[in-house]
């Protein structure tokens, strides 16, 4: 089927070109990487992943990257030490429903299949199948 490109027949729920967001106003999609930056080298990634020591990457142009990430890490470190405010913990405990949580109904419970249970289930299914077969044969 060919696309109808006539703007007069645009569906109401389709965005008009003018209403589309400017690229800068929306979050980047997963596969969008800004083109204006230098690619971070694999060795920098390896260092950031803890696979290389800093001394192995602090050479040449990479020094700039190392210093940049050390600065970012300093800020990230502050966030890493954040704790849940006490008043939030208290509020959560106070907000819990007074009714005790119910155990899941039997059809939503997890079944642990042991070898014995599997054999018993197989034997039972075979017996039911045989009984049904006999009943069908007799009915004929």
């Amino acid at each position: 089927m060919l696309d109808n490109l006539d703007p007069r027949e645009r569906r109401i729920d389709q965005p008009t070109p003018a209403s589309r967001e400017a690229p800068a106003a929306r979050p980047m999609a997963d596969r969008e990487v800004p083109l204006n930056g230098r690619a971070t080298s694999e060795t920098i990634h390896a260092w950031l992943d803890g696979e290389l020591p800093e001394t192995a990457v602090r050479h040449g142009e990479a020094v700039r990257d190392v210093d940049f990430w050390l600065r970012i890490e300093r800020e990230v470190q502050v966030r890493r030490e954040m704790k849940t405010p006490v008043h939030v913990m208290e509020r959560i405990m106070e907000s819990l429903p007074s009714a005790r949580p119910e155990a899941a109904p039997w059809w939503r419970r997890q079944i642990t299949m042991s070898p014995m249970l599997a054999v018993a289930a197989a034997v039972g299914a075979a017996a039911i199948g045989a009984a049904l077969s006999v009943a069908v044969m007799r009915a004929r």
Binding site: A25, G37, T40, Q77, V78, E81, V88, M93
Partner: protein, 214 residues
């Protein structure tokens, strides 16, 4: 030279026993103590709650709230929203506690992570700002604090510009200090895919921030 690979003081992770590999690299994997009262397994605590001991739920809350709060804060950029998501998630967890199969920490993480994603879907923010008055400052002088405020604000904006999946990967790796293996376990994806996301997030952040900070 700052040493970045050091254990997080007082941090309680979603799964204990992680170890760092290099002491001079940027810290991404850390040693975390097993949470409060390691003698009592999560499923024992859950059994107590299901039998009517409502206060026992506080054990689970104390055990897991900090990393989950950091996750919500990193994803939303707003302490108020992070608190609301945390509260809603724990209440939901309490109501459905009987349905927990397997690890409670992974289960409650998924609830919080989904809460964050739902919020991101519904709300578009142009500015994010942490208000950390009750959080410790790691900076000694007013000048450092001023620099830090600016960097914090810029980093918030840069994080907000990332796609949610990239932001999630960066926050889990760098803010929460998780290993790729643990991230893969919690998110139900592969280590390779997560490495790719973290690398893309770093490149995007560097592109957004390096002009000013490199």
């Amino acid at each position: 030279m700052a040493t970045l690979a050091r254990p997080i003081p007082g941090a309680s992770g979603l799964s204990g026993g992680r170890t760092k590999r290099y002491t001079s690299g940027v810290k991404t994997t850390v040693t975390m103590p097993r949470p409060v009262d390691p003698q009592e397994a999560d499923h024992d605590v859950i059994a107590r709650v299901l039998s009517g001991d409502r206060d026992a739920f506080g054990v689970l809350l104390r055990r897991y709230s900090d990393p989950l709060y950091r996750h919500a804060l990193g994803m939303t950029g707003s302490p108020d929203v992070a608190e609301d998501i945390l509260q809603a998630s724990f209440i939901k967890a309490y109501q459905h506690l009987g349905e927990v199969h397997g690890r409670f920490d992974a289960w409650i993480f998924r609830i919080v992570a989904n809460g964050c994603k739902d919020w991101l879907k519904n709300i578009r923010r142009t500015h994010l700002s942490y208000e950390e008055d009750d959080q410790p400052s790691a900076f000694a002088t007013p000048d450092e604090e001023l620099d830090r405020t600016e960097l914090r604000s810029d980093l918030d904006r840069a994080l907000a510009a990332l796609a949610p999946s990239l932001r999630e990967a960066f926050v889990m790796k760098h803010v929460e200090g998780r290993s790729y293996e643990e991230m893969a376990d919690l998110l139900g994806t592969t280590v390779g895919a997560l490495k790719m996301r973290v690398h893309r997030a770093r490149e995007a952040l560097q592109a957004l921030l390096e002009e000013k900070y490199a």
